[in-house]
Amino acid sequence: MRPGAGRAVLTAVAAAVLVYLFVPIALIVVFSFNRPTGRYNLVWQRFTLDNWLHPLADPAINDALGRSLQVAAAATAAAAVMGTMVAIALARYRFRGGALVNLLLVLPLTTPEIVLGSSLALLFINRGVTRGFWTIVIAHAMFCVSFVAITVKARIRGFDWTLEDATMDLGAGPWRTFSRVTFPLILPGVLAAALLSFSLSIDDFIITAFVRGEGNTTVPTYVYGSFQRELSPQVHVVSTGLLVLSVAALGLSVLYQRRRT
């Protein structure tokens, strides 16, 4: 086979795989404009803007969306702070036990979600902790800490910490050094990790299903629970809206980093 032909085949395969990745996403967007006849928004009927004109028409979905956003915000804030501290410790200092810390960070990411979810739910049950909003936040912050620590650590590896010494030599105190030099330098990495945490939290289903207790629906647990009865087009609207917002946030963070460098 000529080299050119091999490359054409490779390009065709890669293009087909990219299309495959986008088929369900395109369907979600398209079905947000559908007017279904039954209770399931799964068969294309005809185009309508109604779903988008009334994106918050279903109170059950609004309740779930509100909880999902609050959980994601709280879990991301907790994970961003704790994860960044871990990353700074690993990147900046040499100390005993670093390998153990790295192992503990990776383990939650290589454990199946049903194990994480069922074990954490048992802990709450054994200790008599009522499962609800805060147990979901605790669970999400747990796997997000690992993601943040690993992402931020990769970003600040090889960072020139002598800049801090220079700042101190020029008379700045430790707090001023951190807020004026260290923090601005690590901020892009922290923001990227926070965005990742937020999207992981808002879309988590399996762990949430175990630690949420009665009621306390988030968007994914609502979709799963209501699928026996219905699938309303508002679910597609909410999902498409979140997609647009995340891609916009991703685009902005890329632009922000490009401007800084």
């Binding site: 490359r7 490779l10 395969v13 890669a14 795989v17 990219l18 495959y20 990745l21 986008f22 088929v23 369900p24 996403i25 979600i28 799964l42 907790a78 702070v81 704790m82 501290m85 871990v86 700074i88 410790a89 900046r92 200092y93 040499r94 810390v101 503990l104 939650p108 199946p112 979600e113 049903i114 069922s118 074990s119 739910a121 048992l122 802990l123 912050a141 747990m142 800490v145 590896r157 910490w161 002598t162 800049l163 010494d165 999207s199 289903f205 399996i206 299903a209 175990f210 994914p220 979709v223 799963y224 699928f227 699938l231 679910v235 999902s239 498409t240 979140l242 997609l243 991703l250 890329v254």
Partner: protein, 297 residues
């Protein structure tokens, strides 16, 4: 190992102070729960309505995992293994193409691979029911090509349906975890110095030989990471089997979900979870040995 970092310092208390909140969180909410799980797996549920089982070194829960749920357990690893191989087969060419032929669009293209993460995992899975619907385009095309008979013979489908069959579940798993395969492979391919490939050419290696002897070995860490990130969540998944599978394609995740959240059989669910985790750990260690651990450091 790690290259020297300018200004890196030896710490006494500061690193531990920085580590403590995050590590404490992981110990309390990851390690301690695993101990709860182990304890519960050895407890006895005295009746159907005993929701507070007591610890009693009861090993029978572990026997039940294999005698009662053996087929779901085996099926989970079979489906997860098939999905991992399919992800590798289609994910490697995509990662390779983006890394070596993506040019200045590389970052945008790898960004596209991540976009599915920003839409609902459940809704993406549900969307496949639309694509694979009976009498839909895909099923009619398969039927037209005479492939439904082959798939049925392979026991991947029932009748001439695709939905509610093992094929649909494996397809869903492949779809949902594909980005986890592409990203690490891309990262390892991107690091390869193009001059190494040129050098192989100068030494009279053809395209295939240069790939097999230079590119592929250097990308093995990515293949290893990608396979784990695909296989582990796929083997514990119950969402794909719930939406896309039938009774013949229930996985071990469905059993844990049902035992724990519906039947409130905590000892049973705990034993299954731990067996799943033990088998995965053994598989990972074996796989690391097969690929050669020194390349993975």
């Amino acid at each position: 190992m790690a290259e020297p970092t300018p200004g890196q310092r030896r710490g006494r208390l500061a690193p531990y102070a920085l580590l403590s909140p995050g590590m404490l969180w992981l110990v309390l909410f990851f390690l301690v729960p695993l101990a709860s799980l182990l304890r519960m797996s050895l407890s006895t549920k005295r009746s159907r309505f005993d929701f507070d089982p007591s610890f009693s070194w009861d090993w029978s829960n572990y026997g039940d995992v294999f005698t009662t749920w053996g087929s779901q357990l085996g099926r989970s690893f079979l489906f997860a293994g098939a999905a991992t191989l399919l992800c590798l087969a289609i994910g490697y060419p995509l990662a390779y193409w983006i890394a070596f032929h993506g040019g200045r669009w590389r970052n945008l293209l790898i960004g596209l691979v991540v976009v599915p993460f920003f839409t609902s995992f459940l809704l993406r899975t549900i969307s496949w029911t639309v694509v694979l619907a009976d009498n839909g385009t895909v099923v009619r095309a398969l039927r037209g090509a005479g492939l439904t008979d082959v798939l049925r013979w392979l026991r991947l489908t029932d009748g001439d349906r695709v939905l509610d069959t093992p094929l649909a579940v494996i397809g869903g798993l492949t779809y949902n975890f594909l980005p986890f395969m592409v990203l690490p492979i891309y990262v390892s391919l991107e690091k390869i110095d193009a001059r190494l490939v040129d050098a192989a050419g100068d030494l009279y290696a053809g395209g295939a030989a240069a790939f097999a002897r230079v590119v592929l070995p250097l990308s093995l860490p990515g293949v290893f990471a990608g396979s784990l990130l695909t296989f582990i969540p796929a083997s514990g998944d119950f969402v794909n089997a719930y939406f896309l599978g039938g009774t013949r394609s229930r996985m071990i995740g469905n059993v844990v979900q049902d035992r724990f959240l519906v039947q409130l059989d905590y000892p049973g669910a705990a034993a299954i979870s731990l067996v799943l985790m033990a088998i995965i750990t053994a598989a990972v260690l074996l796989y690391a040995k097969l690929l050669g651990t020194e390349e993975l450091a």
